[in-house]
Symmetry: D3
Subunit: 69 residues, 6 copies
């Protein structure tokens, strides 16, 4: 499957925080940086996410803000 989202960053699940509705997923990239995602708990369970799972963080270009210093 291919999709239109331009940003796909591969990494490993480092931490999961479960709530009744949502789950926070912390993904560690090979560069050592972290990407944090909030998905529904049902999704986290369907994907069988656990620490160490190999995942991709997928982000649509229209959701990315640019900042300068």
């Amino acid at each position: 499957m291919q999709f239109s989202a331009r940003n796909v960053l591969k990494g490993k699940v480092q931490k999961l925080v479960n709530g009744p509705v949502n789950t926070e997923v912390v993904v560690r990239l090979p560069s050592g940086e972290e990407i944090v995602s909030v998905i529904t708990r049902t999704s986290a369970e369907k994907l069988k996410l656990k620490e160490g799972s190999e995942v991709s963080a997928v982000i649509k270009a229209s959701a990315v803000i640019i900042a300068t210093e």
Copy 2:
């Protein structure tokens, strides 16, 4: 300034594509990966973005999808 968005990835502008309303900004990360953002053209002009500009790509956790293979 600090902000609630959990994901901040630093890089350099590699390419800009201007339309009448929006500008596509391609950011190269130190890891070699690219992040693509679409912002308004007015924003791109206010930030004086050009190839080589040092920028951060800022992404809210709720906008990140997780995919597994």
Copy 3:
């Protein structure tokens, strides 16, 4: 590939409108309803979208508003 986005609606591309940065994609669902997406033009070209292409519209649950009358 599986992903955390909870909403996946299958249909066929009915119409494409190209701009310099973005492309509007109108997808017709089997029910006759239409889903409209705006993606980058580069994505539309990478996916080789044309009228009649079979696609899925993928939407994260946090992006869905609920309205009542």
Copy 4:
């Protein structure tokens, strides 16, 4: 009231999952498909959502990703 969001799908609330901050709303469309939304719990209470409520799922075109197989 009319609004700019291009995607409006009518259906009935099939299930609600409450957390302290958010509520997950599962909407069944006439086609049998489901749309899942996460809104604030306060919104769910203001809209008096319950199983069987007639609702519309409203989605902005810029939030829709296109996938191909």
Copy 5:
């Protein structure tokens, strides 16, 4: 019609910038502040937006970032 989006700011259209796919809508609030929206050009035409039109800017809580200085 009522909807789950928590943020509804009323104002008047101050400026419209049309592209082939999208339209930028600048809304002036009674406080003098401006809200900028990007919607599809088709939406802008369906809503018959022009300078001076009375509109509401509607924003889902999950799309709002918090910043501190």
Copy 6:
């Protein structure tokens, strides 16, 4: 720091609702209107948000829907 998000509304935190994953932040603007944001609880803690904190609500133009009556 400057950023591409076109909408920045200053106000004070009026209320915080904590869940295990997310925190709802109600911001009161000088005009008396309220903006509601949902951010991760970790973000709310990093920003040390409490009632009365001076904050900005930051919103990307592509996340704003326009409605007319």
